[in-house]
């Protein structure tokens, strides 16, 4: 059950350079120098692809944001903001975002420790080339005091349909916040519609070790997995017919529409995911359902189309794309 409740784990480290104004205080020329230095240092650390926002077209930038490769914050520095992505696509290093360096490692399932080990190794190597802003009292000094100390945010993306349908999420948020944990809806356009996806992360970054923070987040995740598992059992007992109808109805609409908005598509895809998680529907492309959720976002649609298109045309493209993906994939 754990595997279809926990989607992915992410470790993010915020680092700044000693004696250098934070990115929002830097000139473009200074940002560019820093970007070049970080990319140089990364060359010796591993295999990365390098991207500079100023040299990318807007479609590709927005697609990177929709895929959570980079944050919207990086766009504030749209000329010189840059990022490196490891060839295996697990590590992304943003330069000149809110902090000089934002290093993140994303792994599937509950793998915070593995993600931390990878991020930590790269961080330690980078530290040989850059003297970090660090104080023995406050730890890593970052542009925003909410990130000082470890500079680490450990997040787990979770799929919680049964708890959402049962209306338990608000109570859970209140309970786990006492443990220093934050639970919030997945962000970005359409986040209202993809209502079953949540991100759980540590709230504080100071006063606890990295290991303690990861343990704290892991414990909260495992508690939520238990709660979601029980809620799913209850949901199935009480609403079996309604749930079977819901996910098959979603399949029917996704594979047979002419116009489809992002919101509607995400809502229906969430219903399909719910059906898959509960074993109520079988489709051939079940394994790629999360990729499909990304690929129907506006800039991904336009990226495949090759240019900017208005929302009406996008909605028609989306419907056609989903028809091609889902038609005749239902396993009876």
């Amino acid at each position: 059950m754990e595997s279809n409740v926990i989607v992915s784990s992410r470790i993010r480290l915020a680092r700044d350079i000693k004696g250098m104004p934070f990115p929002h205080m830097m000139s473009n020329a200074d940002c560019q120098k820093l970007v070049d230095k970080v990319f140089d240092a990364l060359d010796d650390i591993g295999d990365f692809d390098y991207f500079q926002l100023g040299k990318m077209n807007l479609l590709n930038i927005q697609m990177a944001i929709e895929s959570n490769d980079i944050s919207k914050e990086l766009l504030k520095n749209s000329e010189t903001g840059a990022y490196a992505k490891s060839i295996d696509e697990t590590v992304t290093i943003m330069v000149c975002e809110e902090d000089h360096i934002r290093l993140q490692c994303i792994m599937p399932g509950l793998s915070l420790r593995k993600a931390y080990d990878i991020a930590n190794d790269i961080d330690s190597e980078l530290n040989k080339s850059f003297e970090y802003a660090f104080s023995s009292k406050l730890g890593y000094l970052t542009a925003c005091p909410t990130n000082i100390g470890t500079g680490m945010r450990a997040s787990v993306m979770m799929f919680l349909p049964a708890l959402t349908i049962a209306g338990s999420i608000d109570d859970i948020i209140a309970t786990i916040s006492k443990m220093g944990i934050v639970l919030r809806g997945s962000r970005g356009e359409g986040s209202k519609a993809s209502e079953f996806m949540y991100q759980l992360s540590n709230e504080i970054t100071l006063g606890k070790t990295e290991d303690e923070i990861i343990t704290m987040v892991e414990n909260a995740v495992l508690k939520l997995v238990d709660l979601e598992t029980n809620a799913r059992k209850e949901l199935l007992e009480k609403n079996y017919d309604m749930l079977v109808d819901k996910c098959h109805r979603a399949y029917g609409i996704l594979s047979n529409s002419y116009i489809m908005s992002t919101d509607e598509a995400q809502k229906l895809l969430s219903d399909i995911k719910l059906g898959l998680a509960l074993g109520l529907i079988k489709i051939k492309n079940a394994d790629s359902i999360d990729d499909i959720c990304d690929s129907i976002k506006p800039y991904h649609i336009m990226g495949r189309y090759g240019k900017n298109i208005d929302s009406e045309t996008r909605d028609k493209c989306r419907a056609k794309y989903l028809h091609n993906i889902f038609a005749n994939t239902l396993i009876e």
Partner: protein, 163 residues
Amino acid sequence: MICDKCKNKEATFHSRTNINGKITEVHLCDECATKTGAYSKSMMDFNNFFNNDPLISLGMDELSKEVCDFCGTSFEDFKNSGLLGCDHCYDYFENKLKDIIENVQGANYHVGKTALDHNQLTYDEKIEDLREQINRAVDKEDYETAAKIKKQIEKMQGEHNGK
């Protein structure tokens, strides 16, 4: 639910924080959450703790206009953006930040990973590091940078031999 800030759009960003029993809820639309940097600020409600800033509540705003002597950021700037200007700001505004940090983080002392102290690198390690930087610059045909680093090495060697 409607956005707390613009009071217009549907809130898609929701946070509820509990720091030492003090519960704060924030609900923002995507646009306001992006503008305020809430996505990256771990649900912190700056206004909440600034309202508790004794300097501000006493109307001593003038003191908030003092600027960091390194980067020129004022405490007022920090209040508005939630961002400090540089690492020196932490020393410069230490007294004002102390309570804010404790309020937001629930702690005031770091216990995690320690950054590499470049001042404690041995002379040989520093020279080795600089030589690697020269090699990288030469690989990129950036001879100007390579020459600068070479001069830096020569200066360090001179100082070292003169000891």
